[in-house]
Amino acid sequence: MMRKARAIDDPILILFYSMLIVWSLAILYPFYYVVINSFNGALRYGLVLDWPRVFTLENYQIIFKDDRLLRAMFVSALRVVIGSSITVFNCSMCAFALRKQRLALCNFYLILFTIPMFFGGGLIPYFLNLKRLGLYDTFWVYVTPSVFQFFMVVIFMANFREIPDAMEESATIDGANYFRVFRSIFLPMSMPVIATFLLFAGVGQWSAYFDNLYFVRKESLDTLAGVLLRIITRSDISQYMSEMYKDWGRTQADTQGIKLATLVVSVVPVVAIYPFMQRYFIKGIKIGAVKE
């Protein structure tokens, strides 16, 4: 009679399990630290293992009453919604058109899309071009350049090829045109991949700071990531907060709390959506990539 081998019996496995546990803790601790300390009103921070020394909501109150920060959050949220939806929609649409590679001009399109991966002008020409196109210092500079992502199109193409021709034909027989077929058949059937890319594009939009710093001048177009970057690298953050903050007369040490609270506000949406999307994106990547 064979006894099933138990994990405990194997010292290597114990080692592996421990390594994974240690690694997971190493990943989680910094987030934990930041969250806990954003509620910390004391001026001493340090190695925190449980509760803040002085629990306070004050950091968050300051942030959510600050006009400039609220505006930045709004701009960021707007670019996530608009940017990721137009990118994913456009790339899937383009992939649908190219999927069979029997299209007239198909090769022309593919070559057109591939060349920029190898040649580029560099940052300065790109910047000058943005100015010439009139996108400098507008909201659209955030969402339009990323509207075409070759990698996304390729994965969508692979995904669409999996869909049986029969489905498409039955729709065409019923008189549907190409766009209808795309909308009613291919899109719904690719939900895992779409969810994956919405997540990726969304996170990219939420985290983008470079365009805020160099392609935009108006304060009213600042994003949360841009503001966050500016405040974490400085000790005196009053220039980035609205007038209200100056009246508080806070000492330097407390800016740490505000920085952390802003950081938490920036991280929480990503971390919150992540477990739900995780279901989809593992499937999505496997469909797209492994079947290549």
């Binding site: 994990a7 290597i12 496995l13 592996f16 399990y17 390594m19 994974l20 690694w23 997971s24 190493a26 990943i27 989680l28 910094p30 987030f31 630290y33 930041v34 001493r44 921070y45 340090g46 925190v48 456009n90 649409m93 383009c94 649908f96 299209l103 007239a104 001009l105 057109l112 920029p116 040649f119 580029g120 002008g121 560099g122 940052l123 300065i124 020409p125 790109y126 000058l128 071009n129 339009t144 350049p145 075409f148 190409y178 996170v203 985290s207 700071y209 470079f210 160099y214 990531a225 970057l229 974490i232 690298t233 920085k259 952390l260 950081l263 920036s266 971390v271 477990p275 990539a289 492994v290």
Partner: protein, 325 residues
């Protein structure tokens, strides 16, 4: 219409008509591609001629075509670059960081993937994996902010509390501002952030391995390590080679997330270690207004990257018989 029998099918006019008919039938599809075509032309092709600025003395008022050519038959900026006192420093930083990362960051994802395949317990596996991918989705702005907090030079920061209570140091340390520790810091933080995500690729490859191969090793008397050595590792070699070659093509950019890291973490104090080629080009170009010079840096970088890509590919073909192209 003439009967087909008497019509030459290869008649160019007829072919053209067929093509146009096809196009018209598919016009909706072409419309669907149009936005992407416009985007690519506007954002990728329009800037391309701008590279010529590197050979000119660009002035905004005169525009690209009106600006005068640079001295030394256009190579003035490249000469200035190579003679610039910072160039040596910048090049050293960029290459050192890239090489350090290349040697230390490509293997751990493989190790993680192997560990994950060895353990059983699917619940535990899933949770650990989910946690390990998490930092990949968090931007460097946030991770940098966390690092400033955890590694702060104040005596009550976590790092100092730990180091001092263990008796390893007597005074609070300032890691981020210290040029000596900056490079290891970059490598370790990127490992923290990307090891989990990097293992996904290898896990996918390992999942596709034919189980009969493992059985063969088992029958031949091999245990866990034999299986890894003779089945798992050879199967991921080609993937690894591709990853490595592609990585070589980014050395001049510092490889990996270096730009984001350096942009967030650089301070006046650590600049001797943190100033990389991209950062230098940014400061001089976009911030300092010397557009021609910065474009020259970009061009220099791209050319070197291309050379490295081709060399790495060639070398790999020689040594392991596997290559990208």
């Amino acid at each position: 219409m003439q009967p087909t029998a008497t019509r030459d099918k290869r008649d160019p006019l007829e072919l053209r008509k067929q093509w146009v008919r096809r196009f018209v039938n598919e016009r909706v599809l072409h419309l669907m591609i149009l936005p992407s075509v416009i985007a690519v032309i506007l954002f990728s092709y329009f800037p391309m001629p701008g590279i010529i600025i590197a050979f000119k003395n660009f002035s905004i008022f005169k525009g690209i075509w009106g600006s005068p050519w640079a001295r030394n038959s256009g190579f003035e900026h490249f000469v200035d670059l190579f003679n610039s006192p910072l160039f040596g420093l910048v090049l050293r930083n960029t290459i050192a960081i890239a090489v350090l990362k290349l040697s230390l960051l490509l293997i751990p994802p493989i190790i993680l993937a192997i560990i994950l395949t060895e353990i059983r317990g699917t619940g535990f596996k899933k949770v650990t994996q989910t946690i390990s991918y998490l930092p990949h989705f968090v931007s460097w702005v946030i991770v940098g902010g966390i690092m400033f907090s955890l590694l702060s030079p104040m005596p009550d920061s976590p790092i100092n509390r730990v180091l001092m209570s263990l008796g390893l140091v007597r005074e609070p340390v300032d890691i981020i501002n210290n040029p000596v520790w900056f490079w290891p810091l970059l490598v370790m933080s990127e490992m923290w952030k990307e090891v989990g995500w990097g293992s996904i690729l290898y896990l996918a490859v390992i999942a596709g391995i034919n189980p009969e191969l493992y059985e063969a090793v088992y029958i031949a008397g091999g245990g866990r390590w034999a299986k890894i050595r003779y089945v798992t590792l050879p199967s991921i070699t080609s993937t690894f080679v591709i990853v490595f070659i592609l990585a070589c093509a980014t050395i001049m950019s510092g490889f990996g997330d270096t730009f984001d890291q350096v942009f967030v973490l650089n301070t006046a104090a650590n600049r001797s270690a943190s100033l990389t080629l991209d950062l230098y080009a940014l400061r001089i170009g976009l911030e300092g207004g010397q557009y021609s010079f910065a474009t020259a840096i970009g061009l220099f970088k791209s050319i070197i990257n291309l050379v490295l890509l081709i060399s790495a590919n060639h070398l790999s073909k020689r040594v392991t018989d596997k290559s990208l192209f």
